[in-house]
């Protein structure tokens, strides 16, 4: 059996950051493995550990050389080998939306021919939450989204999906399938020091779009990034100091100004 797990290096923004045009400058960013993908990696590694047959776990990422640190983290946690896709076309793209990203990942998946693809529900930075499902569509695989429990046999993934309002759905998905993994499905392990050591010897292939047989036009997308802004704060609090008797008039003024009245 082969499990392909998609991982992404996400940018975490510092508390005080600035926006320059359509980007946030590097000095305000720190990079880390996407939290949802950490759970997907753990789910994949647990499948490999729990099943009697040989299971190969392959991680795929689309990202610059810096993102190898994130991929090495996945390798240190038990992933067998990794593929990183990057070239000048990807580096120069203003935005790679979920549809375009899914096309790139699908090319890797077609070459790998996995029985199961695990993807995080969403990425912590751009938060589209659509890449995994779009990937299933490209591959014409069955899929289930927001999976918080997973049991696997040779032909089927039995999953529990998290719906709105605390409702959960039990579904069986025939393999091959794409599952998007929700946080909390497991308890992601540390990268042990022994794992970190072994990760240095594991295969990490770097491929370009051309290597995957993709034309640069694969990145063309209806989605364009038009603006980046910090949301207005809507939770400003006014604090009155003093006893209730002393501050009641102040409160009345605020309420009247806000359009609340007792008439």
């Amino acid at each position: 059996m082969k499990v392909l797990v998609t991982v992404k290096e996400v940018a975490n923004v510092a508390d005080d950051f600035e926006i320059e045009g359509l980007t946030i400058p590097e000095q305000f960013l720190e990079y880390d493995l996407n939290e949802w993908d950490d759970y997907a990696v753990e789910a994949a590694v647990q499948i490999a550990e729990d099943r009697d047959e040989d299971v190969e776990v392959v991680a795929v990422t689309v990202g610059p050389e810096r993102s190898e640190e994130t991929v090495r983290m996945a390798l240190a946690k038990g992933v067998d080998r990794a593929v990183r896709v990057w070239d000048d076309t990807l580096a120069e793209a203003a935005l790679v939306g979920p549809t375009a990203m899914a096309r790139v990942l699908a090319a890797v998946a077609e070459a790998e021919d996995p029985d199961l693809v695990l993807s995080g529900v969403q990425a912590a930075d751009d938060g589209f939450g659509a890449t995994g499902v779009a990937l299933a569509e490209h591959l014409e695989y069955a899929w289930a989204a927001v999976v918080n429990d997973l049991e696997l046999d040779d032909e089927t993934a039995s999953v529990r999906r998290e719906l709105e309002g605390g409702v959960e759905e039990l579904t069986s998905v025939p393999l091959p399938a794409v599952l998007t993994i929700q946080t909390g499905i497991n308890d992601p392990r540390y990268a042990s020091l022994r794992g970190i050591r072994q990760a240095q010897r594991k295969e990490l292939d770097v491929r370009t779009l051309a290597d995957l047989g993709l034309d640069p036009a694969v990145l063309d997308d209806d989605l364009t990034l038009t603006g980046l802004a910090r949301p207005e704060s809507e939770s400003d609090a006014t604090l009155f100091e003093g006893s209730a008797a002393d501050t009641a008039d102040d409160l009345e003024t605020v309420l009247r100004d806000a359009g609340v009245s007792a008439e």
Binding site: R72, Y190, S192, L193, R194, R197, Q200
Partner: protein, 388 residues
């Protein structure tokens, strides 16, 4: 000259930070107050592979170097564990593992190293004595030949983990100082089972780091076979020296790590705490003393990395390890002192932790050797006459 860190360093830092986040200041405040050994933290270090960091892969370890051990310890200390980040690694995973790796027979390695790597075996390392102090050449503990083996007698002081260790590496004199050409000859290390009825252990009440006991150890007529010798008989000094530099590097990492922890908390506090309509951090009387000390911490960190790098290359690093230890301790104590000052009266409250880190870092000027003993070594290297 290459300052680019290998890729695994970021991963080590990440794993150490994750563990330190789980075992943060509040956890250690409770362990310290209760005087409890942090068994769950010890086991967590085992699961994550820290006890096997310096152990070859064939014995279940990660086969990394002292560079990585220094980084792991410093990160654990700095990200929330305080002194415990070094303390729970330096004796077993640091000194005992290095002694066995470098000087052990194949049988000894097979017996002890896999257990150490798994976190299943705790060692103590008995060097210091009430009469000899940190001048190891004066050890009074004797190992007398008796048939095929040896009989051990003596008294050790300040032996960390002796109350719960499974095994002890004991530094003894096999040939009296008067009968050898130089005092470095005639010493022998022995592996001793702590369950031996001839061993008694008595914890010493102490100023801090009460999540582990430091003990007096009394050794009376403990018989060991010849195979218990670690390294050649009478050549123990040279086997011991290999472990002393990792110990100094460990304490240098503790000093910079605790300083980093205290300084970062002081920066947070100085940014939040407002007096006279401004955060106190805007006052240079608050920020500069911490900043000045921190420049020393940064510099000492580089010296530790150099010492560890030399050690990992198999080069002599005694001078560099002593400089790193002495510099890290001076800068670290200074940084914690001024960080504590930034908290004003709250610096004295246990709930702010900084008073504990102050108590913890003060050990580093006394151990593993006093600052004065480190300066003795450095002074001699500089050309001053030997003072003892």
């Amino acid at each position: 000259m290459d300052f680019e860190a290998p890729p695994e360093h970021a991963l080590i830092r990440s794993t150490a930070s994750d563990i330190a986040e789980e075992y943060g200041p509040e956890y250690w405040r409770e362990r310290e107050q209760a005087g409890e050994f942090a068994a769950d933290f010890w086991d967590e270090l085992g699961d994550a592979g820290f006890h096997g960091l310096l152990i070859p892969e064939e014995y279940g370890g990660a086969d990394m170097g002292l560079q990585e051990m220094g980084l792991a310890m410093e990160t654990l200390c700095a990200e929330g564990c305080g002194m415990a980040g070094t303390w729970y690694l330096v004796v077993t995973a640091g000194m005992a593992a290095v002694a066995l790796r470098e000087s052990g027979t194949e049988a000894q390695k097979e017996t002890y190293l896999p257990d150490i790597a798994a976190g299943d075996r705790i060692f103590s390392f008995a060097i210091t004595e009430p009469e000899a102090g940190t001048n190891t050449l004066n050890v009074g503990t004797r190992a007398d030949r008796d048939g095929d083996g040896f009989v051990l007698n003596g008294k050790k002081a300040w032996i960390t983990f002796a109350d719960r260790a499974d095994d002890m590496i004991l530094v003894t004199r096999t040939t009296p100082k008067e009968e050898v050409a130089t005092p470095t000859q005639g010493l022998t290390l022995f592996l001793v089972d702590m369950d031996d009825p001839g061993i008694e252990v008595s914890p010493i009440e102490k100023h801090a780091i009460n999540y582990s006991k430091s003990c007096e150890v009394f050794i009376e007529d403990v018989r060991v076979p010849a195979e218990a010798a670690l390294g050649e008989v009478d050549e123990g000094w040279w086997h011991l020296v290999k472990t002393l530099n990792p110990e100094r590097v460990g304490f240098a990492a503790a000093a910079t790590g605790i300083a980093e922890l205290a300084a970062s908390k002081a920066v947070d506090y100085a940014n939040e705490r407002e007096v006279f309509d401004a955060p106190i951090g805007t006052h240079q009387a608050v920020s500069f003393p911490i900043t000045e000390a921190y420049t020393g911490v940064e510099t000492a960190r580089l010296m530790r990395q150099k010492a560890a790098w030399l050690f990992d290359q198999g080069e002599d690093c005694g001078y560099e390890a002593n400089v790193a230890k002495a510099a890290a301790v001076e800068a670290g104590i200074d940084a914690v002192y001024h960080a504590m000052q930034a908290f004003g009266g709250w610096g004295y409250a246990t709930e702010y932790d900084i008073e504990r880190w102050w108590r913890e870092i003060n050990l580093t000027r006394l151990a593993p050797v006093t600052q004065q003993m480190a300066y003795n070594h450095i002074a001699t290297e500089m050309g001053f006459p030997r003072s003892y």
